[in-house]
């Protein structure tokens, strides 16, 4: 069967309930959030283990801070992964499902690997706070398992891009595999692009940490300054390395793509060069530059994830696949449901974040009962339920 015809036949006949472009934007946006937290977990778990093995009080304190932050970031990583998982399946279903089935045992297996990784990271964190000895093995194991998940996610994302190989991987030749126990494709520079970035992003996170806690009167100022400096150094070093890996990746792409001329990629490139300049400037006073650096990093990651999507469009374009021609079965009602829920979510999330932000900066208990978003958050959820009951009653009658 012709590949592009096969892809067409695999697309869901149900169609998509809203314009595919919207799903694409949501995919890129939520993937950017996912990968930032992946970066923070990889870098954070690494730093907590590294700090544990290094001598010195500062390293020990940093290790503890990262061990705790990483368990929280880990949970966020999981929830933030759900959204791209969803949107991916809406517009790239032929690619995503086939690639997953072809490595099914791995994909199901990583769920258990994730559970183990989290548990180990948690044990490490608990023991660290109790100042136990010889606990490095928990941290190291957690780190390696997290990398293993990354390897799997990369391989599956990557093998999705080669539909002409699928049948062969599944039933052709001597290496045919029906039980999904093989990872079929791997591109080192692409994988490293996610790993090296982890250390740059974690460095920026440390700058933010130093900036955020400097208001706290019970925190050691020179420790914070040290965290900021170390973070800034890390950020700049690994941003440069990241650029090297990026060029390596660029060179290993199919030459027909001419990706170095792609406007999305070029925009992202300009953004990260700007980031690098800010980071160089930040070396002398990391706390001052923490916010601009974090902001630029966020935009830079968004730029890079957009470029990654542009690259995917080139890959799938080789088989005349375009998300924009997906069959439409417009459903305004359910689209509105999401839009309203999303707006409500922004309000509630802002409320929760403002509570944490204020609390973290204060060494004494706070009275935040007068925050206006507090009652709004509860009312909005109740309104949400009432609206749904209204729709339900209307449908039933």
């Amino acid at each position: 069967m012709d590949i592009s015809q096969m892809l067409k036949s695999l697309q869901d006949p149900m169609g998509v309930p809203f314009y595919p472009f919207v799903f694409q934007v949501l995919l890129v946006l939520t993937f950017a959030l996912h990968i930032i937290f992946v970066n923070l977990v990889i870098g954070g778990v690494f730093m907590s283990v590294y700090g544990y093995f290094k001598k010195g009080n500062y390293y020990r304190a940093l290790s503890k801070a990262f061990a705790k932050a990483s368990t929280i970031n880990f949970s966020l990583l999981i929830v933030l992964g759900v959204a791209p998982l969803l949107f991916m399946q809406v517009i790239y279903d032929p690619f995503w499902y086939t690639a997953n089935v072809l490595s099914a045992a791995w994909m199901v297996g990583i769920v258990f690997v994730l559970m183990a990784a989290f548990s180990f990271a948690y044990v490490f964190y608990m023991k660290l706070y109790k100042d136990r000895k010889h606990i490095g093995v928990w941290g190291v194991a957690a780190f390696l398992l997290i990398l293993l998940v990354g390897v799997t996610m990369h391989a599956v994302s990557y093998q999705a891009l080669f539909p002409e190989q699928w049948v062969n991987w599944y039933v052709g030749g001597s290496k045919a595999d029906l039980s999904g126990t093989i990872l079929h494709a791997f591109q080192l520079p692409r994988f490293l692009h996610f790993i090296v970035a982890s250390f740059a992003i974690t460095g920026i996170f440390m700058m933010l940490y130093a900036w955020y806690f400097k208001e706290r009167d019970d925190m050691d100022k020179s420790y914070l300054a040290w965290v900021g400096k170390t973070g800034a150094k890390m950020a700049v070093t690994f941003t440069v390395l990241q650029m090297v890996v990026g060029v390596w990746w660029l060179l290993s792409l199919p030459s027909g793509f001419q990706f170095y001329r792609n406007p999305v990629f070029l925009t992202a490139g300009v953004l990260v060069v700007l980031l690098l300049l800010v980071l160089i400037e930040a070396q002398s006073n990391p706390q001052k530059y923490a916010l601009p650096a974090a902001g630029l990093a966020l935009i830079g990651v968004l730029g890079m994830t957009s470029a990654r999507e542009a690259l995917r469009m080139l890959y799938v374009g080789r088989y005349n696949y375009s998300v924009y021609t997906y069959k439409l079965n417009l459903s305004y009602g359910s689209t509105a449901l999401f839009a309203v829920t999303f707006l409500m979510g922004i309000v509630i999330v802002s409320y929760l974040l403002s509570v944490v932000f204020k609390m973290g900066r204060s060494s004494k208990p706070l009275d935040l009962s007068s925050l206006r978003l507090r009652t709004w958050s509860v009312y909005l959820m109740i309104a949400w339920i009432l609206i749904m009951i209204g729709i339900g009653v209307a449908i039933a009658s």
Binding site: G172, V378, G392
Partner: protein, 440 residues
């Protein structure tokens, strides 16, 4: 058609079943526990009983670690297992309900933030704020359950959706409300059970017995209401599902008995600890939770079975073939096409040598067809765990190819099996394969 993931002996369907059963406990805890929590915390502030807060801290920590992390990961696990075991099924669900799931995701984000903020702001913010955050978590997690119940009950009874294809017609389907009420009541029973275990470990006995008594009242009420709504739910089932519910080869008579027995045991446990709070030790408490788990597992497995032969009621068979299509969404059924071109041509993931029956190894081609059309419900190995096809074939007495061919022709005379799809030559190949299993 996507490739079929082949899991030796166990079968891919059981992979889903195992992960889904594991998911039951943490997920129900995660949705239910906070209601009790907020109730006790509110009492502690109102009646100025700070000693109650000791309970809350213990209660939340386990929740955060066990329930939240393992609940969300096993939830993702079910999704992944479905993705690889029934890609077309989950694809159909997602293309229908993506905005529902996306809305649910918003609540996931709210929940994960709320539970951490709640935990880390203990004693560091005012009482009102802290209570509000607990409430946000409780409401948010109830809503995410209300959403996923809509999608799950849709799979069982799509209702008007089959003619209109409209999102809300499928969401608010005939079994939605009974299921939502049943799960909501059940939630309170779980919260009670769990609170009893935690309270049993408290050092201050008067605090412990206060909480245990309250929790057992919650539990009794929850359990009784659950039973009531379970009845209503059975009444609300569509006729074909009710017919399957009555078939003992599908649902052994013991299964409903287990559900009722588990329920009775729970009720007894709540009464015992209400009378004698000091008997609420960890071992019987955990045992009670396990009994509950067995009960839920049996009830859920009933739901899975009465959906047969469909993965999405009336729309898609368990083997991911869409028999009749859905005109409202411009979807044509697969049957006519498959009957004319053949299943081995229809699926792109068939070895080239097997596509044309005349030249292919007949048994191999038949095996491939069984893999595609039967393995969702039958493992193919004799020692398989899920209705192994060799055993089935012997049960049906399919000793000759003619016999087997006739059987396949009337497969959908069994209310729980799909109609066979394929050409006459493919039917013969499958028949030959089945007979070879008979002889094994």
């Amino acid at each position: 058609m996507y490739p079929v993931w082949q899991v030796p002996v166990m079968g891919s369907a059981l992979v889903i079943a195992f992960i889904a059963s594991f998911h039951i406990l943490p997920s129900h805890l995660a949705t239910s526990a906070f209601w009790f929590n907020v109730y006790v915390e509110n009492k502690a502030y109102k009646e100025n009983r700070p000693e109650l807060l000791e309970f809350i801290k213990k209660y939340v920590l386990v929740l955060l670690i066990f329930s939240f992390i393992f609940g969300s990961l096993s939830g993702v696990g079910i999704w992944y297992a479905l993705t690889v075991a029934a890609p077309k099924g989950i694809s159909a669900l997602i293309h229908n309900y993506v905005w529902g799931w996306a809305a649910e995701w918003v609540f996931f984000i709210i929940e994960v933030l709320a539970i951490y903020v709640y935990y880390y702001t203990f004693g560091r913010v005012d009482n009102k704020t802290h209570l509000t955050i607990g409430l946000i978590y409780a409401i948010g997690s109830w809503i995410s359950m209300a959403i996923i119940t809509g999608i799950m009950s849709f799979m069982l009874s799509p209702g008007k959706w089959l003619t209109t294809g409209a999102f809300f017609d499928g969401f608010f389907n005939p079994t939605y409300l009974p299921q939502l009420l049943m799960r909501t009541s059940f939630m309170f029973a779980v919260a009670g059970l769990y609170a009893i275990v935690v309270a049993g470990t408290l050092k201050r006995k008067e605090v412990a017995s206060f909480i245990i008594r309250r929790a057992s009242v919650w539990g009794m009420l929850g359990a009784v209401l659950t039973a009531l709504f379970f009845r209503v739910y059975l009444w609300s089932l569509p006729a074909p599902a009710r017919e399957l519910y009555g078939m003992s080869i599908l649902i052994p008579k013991i299964v409903p008995v287990i559900v009722v027995a588990a329920f009775a045991a729970l009720l007894a446990w709540f009464m015992v600890v209400w009378l004698r709070p000091r008997w609420a030790k960890a071992v019987p408490g955990v045992l009670a939770i396990l009994i509950l788990l067995v009960g839920v597992f049996s009830a859920e497995s009933i739901r899975e079975r009465i959906r047969k032969p469909y993965v999405i009621g009336g729309y898609m068979y368990s083997n991911q073939i869409v028999p009749a299509g859905l005109p409202a969404k411009g979807i044509q059924g697969d049957l006519a096409t498959i009957d004319s071109v053949g299943i081995l041509h229809y699926s792109p993931f068939v070895p080239a040598g097997l596509r044309t029956i005349d030249t292919a190894d007949l048994l191999k081609a038949g095996g491939e067809i069984a893999q595609i059309e039967c393995s969702a419900c039958h493992t193919l190995e004799p020692n398989g765990w899920l209705r192994p096809l060799p055993t089935m074939v012997r049960m049906a007495g399919l000793s000759s190819v003619d016999n087997a061919q006739a059987f396949i022709g009337f497969l959908d005379a069994f209310p729980f099996m799909p109609r066979f799809a394929g050409t006459a030559a493919e039917k013969k190949a499958l028949a030959a394969y089945l007979v070879s299993l008979y002889r094994k």
